[in-house]
Symmetry: C2
Subunit: 452 residues, 2 copies
Amino acid sequence: MKKLLGTSFLLLSMAVFGQAKEDSIQFSQISLEILNNGKGYTELKDLTKNIGHRLSGSAAYEKSVQWAAQKLRDAGADKVWLQEVMIPVWERGKESLHIQTSNGKWKSLKMLSLGNSEGTGGKDVSGEIIMVKSLEEYDQLPAEKVKGKIVFFNHPFNQGYVQTFLGYRDAGVYRRTAASLTAKKGGKFAIIRSLSSAFDDVPHTGAMKYDDDVPKVPAVAIGNTTADELEKLLNNQKVTAKLNSNCGMKGEKLSHSVIGEITGKKDKSVIVVGGHLDSWDVGEGAHDDGAGIVQSIEVLRTFKKLGIKNNHTIRVVCFANEENGLKGGLQYGKTVKESNEKHLFAIESDAGGFSPRGISLEMNEPQRNQIISWGNLFLPYGVYNFEGRYSGADIYPLRDMGVPTAELVPDPQRYFDIHHTEEDTFEKVNRRELLLGAAVMTQLIYMIDKNW
Amino acid sequence: MKKLLGTSFLLLSMAVFGQAKEDSIQFSQISLEILNNGKGYTELKDLTKNIGHRLSGSAAYEKSVQWAAQKLRDAGADKVWLQEVMIPVWERGKESLHIQTSNGKWKSLKMLSLGNSEGTGGKDVSGEIIMVKSLEEYDQLPAEKVKGKIVFFNHPFNQGYVQTFLGYRDAGVYRRTAASLTAKKGGKFAIIRSLSSAFDDVPHTGAMKYDDDVPKVPAVAIGNTTADELEKLLNNQKVTAKLNSNCGMKGEKLSHSVIGEITGKKDKSVIVVGGHLDSWDVGEGAHDDGAGIVQSIEVLRTFKKLGIKNNHTIRVVCFANEENGLKGGLQYGKTVKESNEKHLFAIESDAGGFSPRGISLEMNEPQRNQIISWGNLFLPYGVYNFEGRYSGADIYPLRDMGVPTAELVPDPQRYFDIHHTEEDTFEKVNRRELLLGAAVMTQLIYMIDKNW
């Protein structure tokens, strides 16, 4: 019995060892293929330089829909289609912010209206600026002190976090709520210090949201050094601000997410890999989220190129409208619910095209533990961190239906220097970092496809 | 007895736990101080923009010596001094490389002479180019096929490695040996494809070496896309190259490494942290190795700022002449040997100012294992990789004397895009990535100082 047990154990060990070795070889082939021959970087150049930024509802977004469909066909998808999505249309138009100090002169400040914000309808709106550093400080201000004023929410991005997403989370509440908080006490509009880790004057846009019961006053962002200068002025004198902007919601429009897949050889259960195709209307949407799009297409191309037989259907979804409505993700989830199409797993890449460090897992413990047990396979590719328990916003609807979801976790140090700005350009993306992220997603999907 | 053992174990656990907690708090304070208040990034801007590149023997290098001494005093060093070093002087001068194809026209190629290479003495040297892809291929060429020719060593940087330093290692032999290999078979000069991971026309310089027994023919580097174009031409036609250059060794000169320290409270055993102050004569020497210099100074500043009582002397060494002679490191080691000054540990940062991922350890197993046992403390700072068994080149002499040595291991994906080029500028360095590297070195030195 003892000997038999020993033999069984040996055979089992050999099988497991053989398995791990086979997987390790496949991981290496995937990485070699992508680092040597990956097309993601040149595709990202094409997307960012020939189409550029592509806010939902814009002509550029519609161009990117055709572009993504073509790239999926080029990558070898068996089937490519557009999924109809009704999206909100927000337009920026012209905008300017000026301040006047005690010397009477007006000075222009570099700024961006926040996404989804209403503007001033092309008229000047002005008033005295009052500054607060925190929500707590604002809560204590009596309404009469805010009435007719401009509120400057001067909350700094916390540089002390190693995980910059925590700084973004903390400061995010200011971007989302500043306008309605201002309106509730009768203020005319809100200025926020950007959610930015950079020491520069670049303003960061991003989605805000109005409460139902208050007037829709404008909200704008200024960069960190601009905010520093304004803070200094306000510590010494009265400052008047004047905003003139044309932005606002312009109804809804029919648009599309783009989907391509390679059909499963064993069954039609679906593994989703995706990013969002839309971007904000500044810069080039290179890291956010052109990177996620080209990485996802690279996954599909690599399966085809290496001739890996996928048991299940591997589907790339290029989601519409993540930035200011999440309508692409919602529509995709709704369609899955209605069709009752079985989804095994979904992963999104939407945290920038930087060197991968981990995979965040939002699923039950046995599933988590199984993926974590593959950790040694990922280590040579720089992936060691499986601590996160969140996933990409576009796949929340899948998560809420019980699908195990995940997100690629790249190095976070540089993201909030350029996130939602004119600085999010192709030049900020490194070829090897981008491709290594695609390799890691391909490796994970290879394991999921094989073992689930 | 059992109970007693239980109690002892409990007390021991509490002590160990208390210890780990205390260390964890100290790690956090170090990281917060550096990410919030670190001066390394602005100091790097000052060094790169106001002094710029600083090859050993140049006036700029001498300026950087004064600069580093002042920064060490500003950081709170108890003692700052210059260590005399005799350094080789190499100067580039004017240089140009042209090729002539079958249409008879001459075309200029973007190039850099390799460091330490002799030039053509300002005269045109020309000949037909022959191309080889590998040393093996070159070895098989009879001398008569090389005689009077220009040899183009067209060995590509291997993009397939995740660890780019392996690609650098493999291709490095071409940079070091191309000139003497060419001379041995009677060739006039050598052209190498740069040791570069970038798909651009930027040439990478770097040290080469002459064998004693052969003529010192010139060696130059061209960028990857230039090499691609040249390869394409050579596949179809005869191509002549013409080099004109003034570079060469200009004897020796007295120069200095810069040293600053905070004296140990318990004893005078020394912990070294350093980088090299010199750079190549193109770009700004920002990642290589301005980053290592400002990170090392940040370590000292942080000990002083946080009032951490160092048991042993913590010494920052800004080594002279790493790039083309290693004389600073050699002189430092010689001085230590002569004085018999006890050295506990030495770490160098010389792999770029990118996000830290690990610490490479070159020491005996018990020492290694002790540092690895601290791994959980480092994990929140993105440091998980203790696999490496090498250390910085400037501290090899210390290693050879039995001192435990180490090197900071940053993310390697971007380094060889810009290494030894005009592109190694301040703009390529990210503030948070640079400072996080300084934090990790400070944390490690805190642990070594406390436990060794």
